[in-house]
Each structure stands twice: as C-alpha cells, then as structure tokens.
C-alpha cells in the first residue's frame, strides 16, 4: 500500500480527465479511460521508477490504452452537444454565440485529426507539456512530434476562419 503514490494519482486526476476528454471526445468515455488507466497503473506500479515523473507515466498508460481501443474497434468520439457542455450564460450574448461556434469548430477539428496528431495537441497545447516529455510519452522521436504537431496546428488553423460563422461543414483532407 503506498499512500504517496495514490495521493499523487488523485492529484493528477483533473489533468488525466482533460486528457481523456480530448482523446475520446466525450467526458464519460474520457473518465472511463482514466479509470482504466488508474487501475492499470496501480497494477503495474512496480514498473514506475521512483524519481521519474508519475504524470508522464500515467499519460503514457492512458495513451496506450486508448490506442489499443482505437485499433480494436475504430472508436469515434460521441457527438457532444456543445450547448449543454458550456454554460456561457453570463457572458455577452454575441460572445457566447461566437465562443460556442469557435469552440465547437475547434473541438470538431481536433476530433477529426488522426489519433497520432490528436494526442500531441492534447499533451502539448492543452496540457502544456514540453516536446521532450511528450516524445517520451508517445514514444516517438522529438522531430516526429514537432512535424506532426505543426501539421495538426496548421490544419486546425485552416478550419477556424477568422469570421468563423460561415463554415458549417468541416472536413479534413487527411
């Protein structure tokens, strides 16, 4: 029984949940993924090297689990109702509409990305991890991280028109 590790894991939950949400596109599925991740991490706790980062190790477990899931059955994220998710009621009305649209465009855009790019967006742009740490988590060279991430961001940028109200259909070429 190791109290410190469990405590650290609990402390990591919000970040893991956000990561799970970004990968799966749904909070429920994301939480399921996090739950599985925690169970597996505890089960294999002897593989974690004390002194190394627990967050990276758990992100890696989550990522591997998700990749396995995707490979097994080509999971697509559930359709998420953006209006239910974000209560933006006390913001200026116009902003609300624009925010929602941008947000939904960005989220749909991320969902449409190939998995190997999506995970990089989640780790670098959303969680704020360094390229180096990210490369370790996804187990690819740092150069690959950079080229994939640049590609993903260019694709997302292309989606979000500065006017962002005249693009109902979102399609990725690749």
């Amino acid at each position: 029984m190791n109290d410190n590790i469990r405590a650290e894991m609990i402390k990591l939950l919000p970040r893991l949940q956000r990561f799970g949400y970004a990968l799966t596109g749904s909070m429920d599925q994301g939480n399921d993924l996090v739950q599985e991740t925690c169970a597996r991490a505890l089960d294999r706790i002897e593989q974690w090297q004390p002194g190394t980062r627990l967050d990276s190790w758990m992100f890696r477990i989550a990522h591997n689990l998700w990749r396995d899931t995707c490979r097994a059955k080509k999971v697509r994220g559930e359709v998420v109702d953006i209006t239910d998710m974000y209560e933006l009621s006390d913001v200026d009305g116009r902003d609300v509409v624009e925010n929602r649209q941008t947000l939904s465009v960005v989220m749909e855009g991320i969902e449409g990305l190939p998995e190997d790019q999506k995970v990089l967006i989640a780790l670098v742009c959303i969680d704020g991890l360094s390229y180096k740490e990210t490369a370790k988590i996804v187990d690819v060279p740092i150069g690959t991280v950079m080229s994939r991430l640049a590609r993903a961001r260019k694709a997302l940028r292309d989606l979000v028109d500065p006017e962002f109200d005249i693009r109902p259909a979102l399609k990725f070429e690749k």
Binding site: A7, L42, D43, V106, I110, Y131, R153, V160
Partner: protein, 278 residues
C-alpha cells in the same frame, strides 16, 4: 539554421528554443516578412486551444475515479518509492477555493482532497479552519502546528482518556448536549494508534474525524469533516450520517490494519497512556 522551418517557428512560439536559436529566428524575421505570418498560425492555435477541454477541471472528480485509486490493488507491494511527494499547501488552497463556492456539489471534491490529505498525512489548515471555526477561545479543539493539525483541549482529553462509545459531554451556552465521543480505536500498518471520533456541536451539527498518535505523543488529526452526529437510541447507536461520515469511513478503511481494538485491549492501552504506540 539555414532554413527556418515551420517546426522551428512553432517551437519559437512554444518557447522550446534555446536563446541562440531564438535570436536566429528573430534575425530572420527582420529580413523575411513571411516568417511572421507563418508564425501566426502557431500563436493563434495556441490561444485557440487553451481551455478547450477544461470542462472536467471545473467539475468535482467522479467518485468512481477516486474509488479506483483508493481501492485498486497494487501489482506488488514491495515497491515503496519514497520520493516524498506531498501535495503542497498552495495547491490545496487553490483547489478548495475552486470547489467550495459550488455549495452542494462541493462534497465530492472535498472527498477527493481530504483523501489526499489523509493519504499523505497532511491536513490543510484550510479544511480545519473551515469546519472548526465555530469553536473559539477555550473551546478550541485543534491547533495548527508545524504543518500538522493537532487535537487540543477537550478533544485531546477525550482521545486520551475516554473509552470508545463513551461521551465527554459539555455544554457551554445552551442546554443542548455538546459532546465528543471516540467511536473506536485501531492500529495502522506503522503501528500507531488511531481513533475515529465524533463531535456534536448541536442537535444537527457535528463533525467526524480520525486522529492518530504521532511520535511526540500528540493526537494528529488526519481527517475532519462535517457530519451529522450519531444518535443514541436506547443501547443502539445509529451511526453518524452524511457525506462527511461516509468519507471518514473510507479514510479508516484506508488506514486500518487488522480489526478495531476490543474494549479490554483499549482499556489497557488507555491505562498505559498509549505506550506501545510508535
């Protein structure tokens, strides 16, 4: 840097370049006006993506996740990394600030954090102050000292001398019963003694907590939460109710080694002034 690639521009935005690399990019920017617009792609996406999936960060952590961590079995138990990772007080303060205004849903979050506190033997004074600020002056039941929340006054007396199930009763301004009752005593894997206690401040207001003897012979409080006090009807004791007491039970489950002490054993330990405790 002969050619400034998109990757390098992105790394510039993400602050991933060395200072000499940064200078090269900045120099190139002066001579090549396209660089700035190419870079804008990355700085814009940075802003666009921040906060996108933050929704889980603004909600209480689901119980199932905490349960999984607290009850999950470890593959081996010889792995005991002791890098001393402790949640820092600021983090706890920030977290509590974030959750407490949520009112009704705050309990789940409190649950999450108090499990942290307990698991690392650190109780944020915020949590203590939050729940105990009604006791003042000589009614103080706790003090915060050297990063530990310690039992004081009547609480200390009750934990030291009162048998489980008995109440230390006092009334100080009304006729309402106010009492402290150790509920049971147990050992932890590190052989210190701990007691679960209940405190009634009014008929429908009370606290439940867990305190353990520390090395200096004081009672260190590991968890302390709002819980409706237990009711005694005849000889039957109706356990304390409310989210706080459920949580305290979880805390005990997590800390206990073996069974709770029997009355005889406990009596001897109290008589011996808790000697034999670590």
């Amino acid at each position: 840097m002969s050619k400034i690639t998109d990757e390098i521009l992105m790394a510039y935005v993400d602050d991933e370049l060395t200072s000499s690399e940064r200078r090269q990019v900045e120099a190139a920017m002066k001579s090549d006006p396209t660089i700035e617009s190419r870079m804008a792609v990355f700085s814009e996406t940075e802003g666009l993506l921040s906060g996108v999936y933050d929704e889980p960060m603004h909600r209480p952590i689901p119980d199932k996740l905490i349960d999984t961590i607290m009850s999950g079995t470890e593959g081996t138990d010889h792995a005991t990394p002791s890098t001393g990772v402790q949640p820092d007080g600021n983090w706890i303060a920030r977290s509590l600030e974030k959750w407490l205004p949520l009112g009704g849903v705050g309990y789940t979050a409190l649950a999450a954090y108090s499990v942290i506190l307990v698991a690392t033997g650190f109780l944020g004074w915020q949590l203590g102050a939050l729940n105990i600020n009604k006791t003042q002056g000589d009614n103080m039941l706790v003090k915060y000292e050297h990063g530990q929340l310690l039992a004081l006054g009547r609480l200390n007396t009750a934990l030291d001398t009162v048998s489980s199930g008995q109440k230390l009763v006092w009334s100080y301004d009304t006729n309402a019963d106010r009492w402290i009752k150790p509920a049971f005593t147990f050992r932890t894997p590190t052989h210190s003694y701990c007691r679960q206690y209940q405190i009634a401040m009014a008929t429908d207001e009370g606290f439940s907590g867990v305190a353990c003897r520390n090395g200096a012979g004081a009672w260190q409080i590991h968890a302390h939460l709002v819980a409706r006090p237990a009711q005694t009807t005849g000889d039957k004791i109706v356990p304390a109710a409310g989210p706080g007491s459920d949580l305290i039970d979880k805390v005990v489950d997590h800390m206990i080694e073996g069974d709770v002490l029997g009355a005889k054993e406990e009596e001897n330990i109290i008589k011996n002034r808790w000697k034999g405790a670590r």
